[in-house]
């Protein structure tokens, strides 16, 4: 039961990822691509969490947490780069 | 258990770190710190040599983990000799730097110490991955040092140097991965044992790994076609840095020698990859001679002489004949010290020639032309292998040990090319002069370290016999890899 639900979810998440990559590739603008990357990061949190459930292990949790905590920094950096060029000023 | 073995790594590391904590403006304090470390390294290296000379191989198990599981430092005569050479080179180089070059950018002294740490570590380690780490230590420090000071050419050469070595590091990792993947170990001695037992596809993989290692070491040692970065990088580096770099190519040669002696001297893998090294080294020798003839600057010329020494050494060592190792080591010591002296001398000339720099063209007369000229003449005689200086002894010893016509022809012709190049350079720099003296200052603090290095050549000549015996002893110990393996692995493997 849970196995199939998890498999299904993996499928959903992977499709989501593919869509993200699609947006990343076609853009058209830089913010679009960054947004797509950001979304990929967030989807991978889900991916890792679900993987943890699948293999019944909590050892991967920190990876998901780390993405949640600092994954956005790259997005902020690119956004700041777009607006200001200089990210640390 | 003696802790002396790790001292050559820890002393410069400590000095480098203390330098970071010191106040940036207190230049004298920084100089003293760096010099103290360099001075300390000499007695330490002597003590280690003393230990190694007794014939036993000293093993230092880091973290008290036995080999092959933990990392070990291994002190045999070869590593002791290299440590001593490094120490002897470092002090004059740093002294020269303390005459003012150290002010040309921040963190010179720290980088210098870390460079020493990396070099010493590479000579001591008995673990392949640890060798990688120390290579990285010495490389990253060398990047910093190569770029020390300013100048467009330096930046360009530095960029090339860095990128090529980064690619080299990637290759190193691939080779290490393959070694671990096939033999399941990283310890050099253990590797030497396990590698012998490989067969089938594993042996092919191992061959790939070893050939890749040769490429990596060849890049450090500056073999054809991996040496192209060197002339520009060395010629444009600040003098004390270039002098110190004279030992850097030798680290690559050391690594080749070490691996070859340990794993590929006899048994089923004897001579693995030796052909590749032999031909690459011969081509290196030829091209370096050509480069020396073509050089437009003294710095470039000296850099090619460095490459020439590399070709000379690697070709000889690739034969895997223990008889060659002794003379090769003698030549290695000689060429390291003399090339370093030449780099310093080149800088002294630059300083006296103003805008003419070290270009081999007519320039202003030199204020201390006679003295500099005499020094240059001596260095040139030594480096091209003419009597009465050490190069002659080294060359004769090598020629006797390597019975190969192409090697003889190339070595002798390379010597001739060096002679032609240097006589052209010398007569141009010292005698084709016009105008007025540009700079009267010579600076005793620069001349003394240069002379100290140069003095090595007559000393090496006078003491040639004991030194050759010493080197022969090193070679003898190296020839019996079981001494090393037994020391590292105990009775286990």
């Amino acid at each position: 039961m849970l196995e199939s639900a998890i498999s299904l979810t993996f499928g959903l998440l992977t499709v989501a990822w593919v869509l993200n990559l699609y947006r990343l590739v076609i853009g058209p603008s830089l913010p679009d691509r960054v947004l797509a990357l950001d979304t990929m990061y967030i989807n991978s949190i889900a991916l890792i969490v679900v993987y943890g459930i699948q293999v019944d292990s909590k050892l991967y949790f920190e990876a998901a947490m780390l993405i949640a905590l600092i994954g956005f920094v790259s997005t902020v950096a690119v956004a700041k780069y777009i607006t200001r060029g200089d990210i640390i000023e | 258990m003696t802790h002396w073995i790790i001292a050559p790594i820890l002393i410069p590391a400590l000095a480098g770190l203390l330098l970071l904590l010191e106040v940036r403006e207190r230049q004298q304090l920084r100089r003293v710190t760096g010099l103290l470390s360099c001075v300390a390294l000499i007695p330490v290296a002597l003590v280690l040599w003393q230990q190694a000379a007794q014939g036993d191989v000293g093993v230092y198990q880091l973290g008290n983990w036995q080999a092959p599981f933990g990392i070990v430092l291994v002190l045999d005569q070869l590593s002791a000799m290299m440590l001593l050479l490094t120490a002897v080179l470092a002090l004059p180089a740093l002294l020269y730097g303390c005459a003012g070059d150290d002010r040309r950018g921040p963190n010179f002294h720290s980088l210098f110490q870390f460079q020493l740490m990396g070099i010493n570590g590479a000579f001591l380690t008995g673990d392949l991955f640890n060798l990688f780490v120390f290579f990285e230590v010495l490389l990253i420090a060398s990047y910093g040092l190569a770029l020390h000071g300013r100048g467009t050419e330096r930046v360009k050469a530095g960029l090339h140097y860095v990128v090529l070595n980064l690619a080299g590091s990637a290759l190193f990792l691939i080779a290490l991965g393959l070694i671990y993947g096939t033999t399941g170990t990283l310890n050099m001695a253990d590797f030497a044992v396990k590698a012998q037992a490989l067969e089938g596809s594993d042996q092919i993989l191992l061959t790939v790994a070893v050939l890749l290692l040769w490429v990596v070491f060849g890049l450090k040692a500056a073999l054809f076609p991996l040496y192209f970065w060197l002339p520009a990088a060395y010629a444009n580096a600040t003098a004390p840095v270039a002098a110190l770099f004279a030992i850097m190519t030798k680290v690559g040669i050391y690594a080749i020698l070490r691996m070859q002696a340990l794993a590929f001297s006899d048994g089923p893998l004897a001579g693995l990859g030796a052909d590749l090294l032999w031909w690459l080294a011969l081509v290196t020798l030829a091209l370096a001679a050509i480069g020396a003839l073509a050089a437009q600057r003294l710095g470039g010329l000296v850099a090619y002489l460095v490459v020439m020494s590399v070709g000379t050494l690697v070709a000889a060592l690739s034969l895997g004949d223990p008889k060659v190792v002794g003379p090769a080591l003698y030549y290695l010591i000689h060429s390291t010290l003399i090339c370093a002296a030449l780099f310093l001398l080149c800088d002294l000339l630059r300083r006296s020639r103003g805008d003419s720099d070290d270009r081999l063209e007519s320039g202003p007369p030199l204020a201390h032309g006679n003295w500099l000229g005499a020094a240059f003449f001596a260095a040139a005689v030594a480096v091209v292998g003419l009597p009465p200086l050490s190069g002659f002894v080294g060359k004769v010893a090598l020629l006797q040990a390597v019975p190969s016509a192409p090697y003889w022809v190339l070595l002798l012709l390379a010597g001739l090319a060096g002679l032609v190049g240097l006589s052209r350079a010398g007569s141009t720099l010292f005698w084709r002069v016009h105008g007025d003296v540009v700079s009267k200052k010579l600076g005793r603090r620069r001349v003394i370290p240069m002379l100290a290095l140069l003095l090595a050549s007559p000393l090496l000549t006078v003491a040639a016999e004991p030194l050759l015996q010493l080197c022969g002893g090193v070679a003898e110990q190296l020839a019996d890899q079981t001494i090393y393996i037994r020391a590292v692995l105990g009775g286990a493997s």
């Binding site: 039961m1 989501a16 960054v34 979304t39 989807n43 | -």
Partner: protein
């Protein structure tokens, strides 16, 4: 009880997956950057939320005790996701990205 938990976990996992997918669908098909911005920042929060709740339930059940540390992921996301969205919106306005036809109001000049 076990079956119930298993069902719950399964449902939350799938719900999470669905919302994640919807968010990404939004990212893929919505017409301009500003509308696309809504897809991920909304749906993914619930998408991740669903899987977090599932994980929380699953491990609490497995270890026979409350396991709440997954909540932290949501906490961090709630702090950080709005910042990304905000910064990206500013970037988009700076770039003066095309808006969908019929968009009311005006973005601010950056």
């Amino acid at each position: 009880m076990d079956v119930l938990i298993e069902w719950l976990v399964a449902i939350f996992v799938v719900v999470g997956g669905i919302f994640a997918l919807i968010g990404s669908i939004g990212l893929a098909r919505l017409p301009d950057f500003y509308t696309r911005l809504h897809g991920p920042t909304k749906a993914t929060t619930l998408g991740v939320g669903g899987t977090i709740i599932a994980s929380l339930l699953f491990f609490s059940w497995q270890e026979r005790g409350l396991q709440l540390h997954e909540v932290l992921i949501t906490l961090f996301l709630f702090i950080t996701a709005p910042v990304s969205a905000h910064m990206l919106a500013k970037a988009a306005m700076h770039r003066d990205l095309k808006r969908m036809k019929g968009t009311r109001g005006e973005p601010w000049k950056q």
